[in-house]
Amino acid sequence: MSVAATFLFAAVIIGVLSAVAAVLPSWVTSGAVARSAVAGAGTALTGVAGVVAGIAALTGDPYVMELPGLLPLTGFTIAIDALGGVFVTVVGAVATAAGIYGLGAVRSLVAQAVVPLFVVAMLLVPVAGNVGSFLVCWELVALTSLLLVVAEHRTSPAAATAGRWYGALSQLGFLTVLSGLLLLGGPDDFAALRETSQSGAVAGTAFVSTLLGFAAIAGVVPLHVALPRAHAAAPSQAAALMSAAMVTLGGYGIVRVGLDLLGGGPGWWWLVVLALGALTAVHGNLRAAASGDLGGLLARASAGGMGLVLVGIGAAGLFASTGDRVLAGLALAAALLHVLNHAAGTTLLFLAAGSVRRGAGTRDLDGLGGLRKGMPATTAAFGLGALAASALPPGAAFVSVWLLLQALVHGLPDAGIAVAVATTVAVAAVALSVGLAVAAFGKAFGLAFLARPRTPAAVRATESPKVLLAGMGVVGVACVVLALLPTLVLPVLTTATEVATGAGDDVVAGVVTLRLTGFAGEVAPLMITVALVVAVVAGGAAVRLLARRGTRRVAPAWEGGAPPVPGQAAYTAPSFVEPLRRVFDDVVDPAAPERLERRLYRPALAALAAWGRAGRRLATGGVHRYLGYGFYAVCGALVLLVVTR
C-alpha cells in the first residue's frame, strides 16, 4: 500500500472513530466540553492525515486499490493521483484548522458528530476511482453538509430556510451528476472511461449535466442562491469547511470529468464554464460589497473566489481545445493555485468571523466596530485573511490572479474570434472582481474592526480563547507562505495539471522570482513585500529625523468641529456602501432579495407548487379510483407493447 493510501485510511478511521466518540452518552465522555475536545481533536487529526496523504499523492506515483466488497454492484475503487492530491490536501488543511478551532467551540452534538464524517466524505471524493464510489462519496458530502447547515436550527430560525434551499439544490445537483455520469454508460471504472471515446452529443450532454451539479455545489450563478444562506447558518468551523473546502470540490469535478475523463471536448463546453465563472466572480464580489452581515459577506466573496477558479478552468479547457497545451497548463495551474489560496483565505476569514460572533455576540456589521481594541488577535487574523483573499500584494491571491491574467493575456493574440471575445470578457471580469473584492474586504475590515464601537456589545467584546486563536494561527501561517513563496507550491501543482491537460513541463521557474517558462512574464511577491516594508521603515525614520521631536499627543478627533455625539455620528454599513450600491443599482437591490432569485426561482417554485396542486386532484382518497389507475396503466403498457413490438 502506498504512503498516500495508508494515511488516507488512517484519516478515514480516525474520522469515523471521533464521530462515534462524539455521540457516546455523556457519562462516558464526561460532558459537552470533553466531547467537543474529542470531536475537535479527531477532526484535526483526520485533517493532518489528509494533508500527509495529499502531499504524498502529489509527489508520489498514482495508486489504485479496489475494494469490491465494500459497495454492491460497482465495488469501491480508490485511485490516487496528483490532481486528486491537490484537493485532498486542501480538504485536510482546512479540516486541521477547523478541528483545532472546534476544540474550543462547544457546539451542538450534531455538529460535533457530523463534522468528522463530513471531512472524511470530502477526503474521499477526490480519490474515488469509479462512478459508483464517486457518487456515494458525493452524496455523503451533500448529506453531511446539510446536517451541518441545520445543526443550529433551535437558535437560528434562518437555519431552516437555509436547510430547505440547500437541501433541494444539493440533491438536485447530485441527481444531475448522477444522470450525467450514467449517461456515459459502459465502463464504471474511471481508468476505463478515459479509454472509451464517446460520441459528441452524448459527451456534451453528460458534461453539461454534471456541470450543473458541480456548479450547484460551487455556488455558481445562477445556482448560487443556497450557499450564502447555508454558510451563514452553519456553525463557524463547519462554514469554513463548506466555503473553503467543499466548494472547491465543484471545481475538482469539472476538471476530472471534463478534462480528464472526457479528454477536453469541444470549445463551447469551456466557453460555458468561463462565462459562468466570470459571472460568478463579478456577482459574488458585488453582492459581498453590498452585504451587511459578516457571514453573508464572506459567503458571497467565497463564491466570487470560486468564480475565478472557474475562469481558470474554463480558460484551460478552451486553450486545450485549440491545442495550446502549454497555455492550458498555465491556466489550470493558476486555477489550482487559486483553489489553495481561496481555501486558506476563506478558512481564516470564517474562523475570524466566528471569533467575532463569539466575542461581540453578532456578525452584523452595524452592531460591530472598534473590535481591534478588545480582539487584537482576531483583528490581525481577519486582516491577514482579507489580504489573502483580495488580490493585493502581499496577499496570497495576488499570485494566482497574476497567473490567471498572464494566461488570458497570452491567449489573446493568436486565437479565433470566440477565444478572443471570451478572453477579453474574462480579463474584464477578473479585473472588475478584483476591484470589487478590495472594496468588499476593505469595508468588512474597516467597519468591523476599526472606527468606534457602535453598540455596547461591541465595546465589551473580548478576545477568544487561545485554542481558537491557534486554529486561526495555523491557517495564517499557510496564508503567509502561499503569499510570499508560491514558488514552493507551484512545481508540485504542475504534476496535477499534467494529469488533466497533458502538458508536462513546469509552467513557472524560480524561487524568489516567479518566471513563466513558456512566455515572457515575471513577478516577485517576496521582493514586493520586502520593498514595501523597507520603504515604510525608511519613510518613518525620515519623518522622525525631519519632524519636530516629541511624543505624540492624543487629542479629541476634530470631527468637523462639532462636539461628538456618541453613537450617532458613526458611519453605518448601509451608508458606507451607498455609493457602490448607486453604481450597481440594477444588480444590487439593497432591501429586497436579489432580482435573479426573484425572476428565476419564484416562477419555478410557483410552477412546481401548481404542479403539485394539480397532482393532488388525482388523488382523492377513493380506493376505486386508485384501482382504476392501476387498470388503465396496465392496459396502456400492453397497448404500448403491442404497438412497439
Partner: protein
C-alpha cells in the same frame, strides 16, 4: 537587473520626491493665473510641508496603528512604484516588480490603507470619505488593469518596461485605435484617482465631503505632511507613467550620464506639460456631482475594454 535600470531606479524616485511639490505648486499657480488671481507662488507646497513638519504630532483619540501607518504606507507604495516603473530609464531596477498587475495593485494597496485610516478615526466625515474612496477604487483598479493589459496584449508581455521599449521600437503603434482608447481611459482614471477635476476639487478645503479631503481630515502635523507629499508624488508618478507609455521618447536606454540627463529632463518636461494641461482643463470644468463620478469611471472602464478588443480585432 542592469546598470541603466539601477541608476534609473535611483534617480527616478529622487526626481519624483523633489519635484512632486513643485508639480502641485505649478498646477495651483496655473489655475490661479487663469482665474485672474495672483496665486501663492510655485514654491508654496514646500513651505506648507515645512510648516506641517514643524508642528506637533497629534493622534485623534481612539485611533490605532492603521491610522498611524497609513500615510507611511501611501508614501511607501508610491516610492516603490517610482523605483520600478520606467520613468527615467526603460529598464526597471527590479524587473520582476515592474509588472503591470503588480504596479496597479501596489498603488491600490496605498489607496486602501488611506481609506481604512479614514474609517479608523470613527468620525462621520472619515467614514463618508472612506466609502467614496473605496467605491472609486473598485472602479479605478479594474480600469487601470484592463487598459494596461490592452497595451500588454499587443506587446506579449505585461512588463511595463517591455511595453515602453516596444513603443520605442515601433512608434506607429501609438496611434493605433487600441492604444488611443487605452490612453484616454488611463488619463481619465488617473485624474479621478488623484482627486482632480472633474472628479474632485483638488484644493477644496471647504468642501468637506470630497472623498480625499474627508478621508484625511483628522491628520495633522507631520502625518499630514507625509500625506500631502505622498499624494503629490502619486500624481507625478501616474502622469509620468502614462506619458512614458504613450510618448516614451527621451527616456534613457543606456547608463551614460548624457542619456540619463536627457531622461530626467524628458520626464520633467512630460510631467510638467501634462500637469499644465490638467490644470488648464480644470479651469474650464465644473466638478461632477459625486454620484456621477462612477459614471465617468464606468465610461473609462468601457473605453479600456474596447481598447483590449480593438488591440485584437484591429491588429
Amino acid at each position: 537587473m542592469s546598470a541603466p535600470g539601477v541608476v534609473g531606479g535611483v534617480v527616478a524616485p529622487v526626481v519624483v520626491l523633489a519635484g512632486a511639490p513643485l508639480l502641485a505648486g505649478m498646477m495651483r499657480q496655473v489655475r490661479a493665473r487663469l482665474e485672474g488671481r495672483a496665486g501663492p507662488g510655485i514654491g508654496q507646497p514646500y513651505r506648507d510641508l515645512r510648516k506641517l513638519l514643524r508642528k506637533e504630532p497629534v493622534d485623534p483619540r481612539g485611533t490605532g496603528e492603521v491610522f498611524r501607518v497609513a500615510p507611511l504606507l501611501l508614501l511607501a507604495t508610491t516610492a516603490v512604484v517610482a523605483v520600478v516603473v520606467p520613468l527615467v530609464a526603460v529598464e526597471s531596477a527590479v524587473g520582476p516588480m515592474a509588472d503591470a498587475f503588480a504596479v496597479v495593485t501596489v498603488l491600490a494597496l496605498g489607496a486602501v490603507a488611506l481609506a481604512l485610516a479614514g474609517l479608523d478615526a470613527g468620525t462621520a466625515f472619515g467614514g463618508l470619505g472612506a466609502g467614496r474612496r473605496l467605491t472609486v477604487l473598485a472602479l479605478v483598479l479594474p480600469t487601470l488593469l484592463v487598459a494596461l493589459l490592452a497595451l500588454a496584449a499587443r506587446v506579449g508581455s505585461t512588463s511595463l518596461g517591455a511595453i515602453v521599449s516596444a513603443t520605442l521600437a515601433d512608434p506607429a503603434a501609438v496611434v493605433s485605435p487600441g492604444s488611443l482608447l487605452a490612453a484616454v481611459a488611463l488619463l481619465l482614471v488617473v485624474v479621478a484617482e488623484a482627486g482632480r477635476l472633474p472628479a474632485e476639487r483638488p484644493d477644496a478645503n471647504l468642501e468637506a465631503t470630497m472623498a480625499h479631503e474627508a478621508t484625511v481630515f483628522e491628520y495633522a502635523g507631520p502625518d499630514r505632511a507625509v500625506l500631502e507629499l505622498a499624494s503629490a508624488m502619486r500624481l507625478a508618478v501616474l502622469l509620468g507613467l502614462v506619458a512614458n507609455l504613450f510618448v516614451p521618447w527621451g527616456i534613457a536606454t543606456s547608463a551614460g550620464v548624457g542619456a540619463l540627463l536627457v531622461g530626467v529632463l524628458a520626464l520633467v518636461v512630460k510631467i510638467g506639460v501634462l500637469g499644465v494641461l490638467v490644470a488648464t482643463g480644470e479651469v474650464f470644468l465644473a466638478r461632477l456631482r459625486q454620484v456621477r463620478v462612477p459614471e465617468l469611471l464606468a465610461g473609462s472602464f468601457l473605453l479600456a475594454l474596447l481598447a483590449v478588443a480593438s488591440s485584437f480585432f484591429l491588429a
